[in-house]
Subunit: 571 residues, 2 copies
Amino acid sequence: MHLTSLLPILRWGRDYRRETLASDAIAALIITMMMIPQSLAYALLAGLPPQLGLYASMLPLLLYALVGSSGALSVGPFAISSIMTATALSAAFPESAPSDYLMGAVVLALSSGMMLLAFGVMRLGFLSNFLSFPVITGFISASALVIAASQFGNLTGLEVSGANLLTLLRDLGLQLPGFNGHTLALGTAAVLALYFLPRALKSLASRLDASVFWAETLSKATPILVMCLSAWVVAQFDLQQVAVVGIIPQGLPQLQLPDINDLNWSSERWQGLLSSAALISLIGYVSALSVAQSFAAKRRQRINPNQEAVGLGLANLASGVSGAFPISASMSRSAVSFKAGAQTPAAGAFAALLVGFSCLFLTPFLYYVPIASLAAMILVAVISLVDVAAIKRAWGYNRSDFSALALTALLTLVQGVELGLVSGVLLSITLYLYRSSNPHVAVIGKIPGTEHFRNRLRHQVELSDKIIGVRIDASLYFANARFFEDEVNSLVARYPQARHMVLQCSSISDIDTSALESLRSVDQHLRGAGMQFHLSEVKGPVMDQLLRSDFIETMSGKMFVSHYLAWEALS
Amino acid sequence: MHLTSLLPILRWGRDYRRETLASDAIAALIITMMMIPQSLAYALLAGLPPQLGLYASMLPLLLYALVGSSGALSVGPFAISSIMTATALSAAFPESAPSDYLMGAVVLALSSGMMLLAFGVMRLGFLSNFLSFPVITGFISASALVIAASQFGNLTGLEVSGANLLTLLRDLGLQLPGFNGHTLALGTAAVLALYFLPRALKSLASRLDASVFWAETLSKATPILVMCLSAWVVAQFDLQQVAVVGIIPQGLPQLQLPDINDLNWSSERWQGLLSSAALISLIGYVSALSVAQSFAAKRRQRINPNQEAVGLGLANLASGVSGAFPISASMSRSAVSFKAGAQTPAAGAFAALLVGFSCLFLTPFLYYVPIASLAAMILVAVISLVDVAAIKRAWGYNRSDFSALALTALLTLVQGVELGLVSGVLLSITLYLYRSSNPHVAVIGKIPGTEHFRNRLRHQVELSDKIIGVRIDASLYFANARFFEDEVNSLVARYPQARHMVLQCSSISDIDTSALESLRSVDQHLRGAGMQFHLSEVKGPVMDQLLRSDFIETMSGKMFVSHYLAWEALS
């Protein structure tokens, strides 16, 4: 029982049938067609040789298949992880040798892997919850724009560099006059094809009376079609000025661990790389988890967040051992994989085998693939990450959340991905603490003819001169305990006739030590003012808490099961 | 109206009568008797010349009387602020000239004053709420022990130095063989007198049939009696080896602002001093506010926290202008002042005039006051700050809060006051966020024969195969939104027969953007699994929030006023 939860393959592998195999295999074929061009492109996005993208799409998927629990999740290179890797590496190695740069990527992958593994083993998955939805939305949308801007150089044949939108656009503006016509034409054609061809192919297939399945498959083959076609154009017309992928070493990656003693890096560089690895693994984990959860729910399955952290951790370790870079799961590929009917993590393992086959036999065919067509793929993929609808919803729903979104996005755009993310998290925690330190407090009165008590400002209620009924809509804890005391004191000053105060506790789910001291001091203040302090409708768990102290014994008033009983007894 | 809230003196000054004057004046006399020895002692504690304590007890009290609102609060030197000042100054000026050290104290007072003023004007008083009760208790108790340890040197005639308990005790141990017998005898006698004399005097007075008032007054005069008596002993027997206060310049302080251009301090030193000033003002503010609030409540008055920040800010600015050091309010003096019948802030102003009178005419009499008797006063005063009862209560009530208390106390003891305080605040925020990210979730069922729904684990309830009833005991926000999603997913997996999920929202007081997205995704997941998602008992303010989005329109299920109605409709 325990072993199957550590190795989900023991569970789904036992019931593995021919039909499952068939649907997993077909899904694997479709994923591989997307994965080969995407992984080449995302390796370039990370500033690394294209074959590393392929290496990151083999062993990691096999390991994830052993310990991961999501059938649909397509583990492998991910655009946001790649741009974060590029940012971290260019900060750590501003002018180093390329070999250092490659080693930096491996170190990032290995340390992300170890962090995620530790996350999962120590059950710290909950930490990822502190990335709020507005912060993630702002961060991913802004990162997508930075990624898109970073690809304009490849689309126009220019060498554009920069870590944020401003520097990228400035560099692009300076170099623009030197653009390359052939590259631009190929790149534009690729963007248009990737954008319109899927729909065209689908409607063509449906006109030809093909089944829905084949129509879908054909439309998913667009990236590999565009890749092959553009490579053919470059080779056929001998377009020498168009940058191409070039020689990709044939064969599988050599597995090895770097020798840390060989890396004469300063402690500052290590610190920078490790904190980048923490952010990369956090973002990768959160996005993979949300994708996995949404697909699992559709099949009434459950994802164990800590188990997923272990799976992604091992996948990143495998990527590092393969000499590649940090990975996560691609949202677009996962959606395709789910639609194509992937049932178990075996689908990913089959895709890994197909990528391995390509590495062994097909790399010569990749020589002429133009960088511009890979850039077009990145551009089209990331634009869908800009979640305009979610940004609009946040604006309409909650301005304070929107401000966290806007700050995260703004800082990500103008200062780069890491500062944007960290500031967003800190701001959203601060805003939450601020909000919860000012909870809603209502003076309640009796709805005539009933036993119900409601806010006197929202309803027509009966009030008593002698009794102040109060409801606080929050758990009491240190940040709002003194606010609560202050509210009570102001009520006592406002109703000088009152002899009793009854606190309705139906919304209080927790009372910490500071709040207990506040209750004590409220009780003493009221006693000093010749009043009694009562509690009504205390919930079971809160009552258990209070009984661990002597507060109930020593308080001036009583406990009432319902607010109505308090009203009756004290009137 | 607005002006009287800015200058409370306009309110209480208008009704000022002869009887109020009488009680304020008597209270002032009693406070002054405590204040003169205490202010000398607390100046020495801060590592500064004793007269600065007197200077800090004049102008600041006059200014507080204009803008402060608490009658009983005894503004002036405060033990904790003094030890924090000493820590900050010895960190900033490890080997500087004494003039720099004096200037550092002035800068600390001025910057604390400005920070508190900004706090009050910008209504940031709520920030002080993030000092939780366990953190304050741990911090003040541990600081009191550090202060006590720092006074053993003065009590034994040794020069002991160190910023934390370990270094202080080690230094004391090394020097102990060189202790001075006369000093130790005087110091011990003073400690015993301060501890036992008040009770002895009180019982003596009551035997002599004196009124309660005179008995109290006599017992409060103990410090000044001890001071005079010990000075007489030193002068009479010519105890030359006993360190004494020495020459105190006669007259009032010269008011002046330092010229910042004259201070050639490094930016690091400035940074250190300003962050110390922030901590000093925060602690001073929190302790003064809690004292003021507890006395105000006893008279059914209300303290405006932001107004108090302004009052303390001006008092600290005045202390800086007087050439002194950061101040706050003394808990012990305030309690005495309240008992002695101080009605308005005028009591403090009268005390300031009496201190001024002493500065003009009585300073020669302070020459022979032994440092050891002042150290004895500090020792006796701070020992009462070690709140053993509160520490025990926190242990019994809540282990997580107790751990914050213990960490704060431990770090304060072994690493010094500043690190202890900052770590305590960060730990208590982290623990709170952790707790609130794992709220209590209950599956609820119907109590047979009623319309009430309760936790199925705590009560005998009816359940339905088709309906899952869930209650979550917390507001939904980003840190628990995914936890909530995960709980729902696991329930759906556990009850495969169910067709409806009803979320009872009676404990939900807030739903932020992340939580709204989680509700949307829960709704989609349930829809995907062929189920409907309903809400029951949504509170007014939460309903207002939800109506700002399209969630209610688009959700798969319905809203029910009560959980019972949902049960009836869906069964």
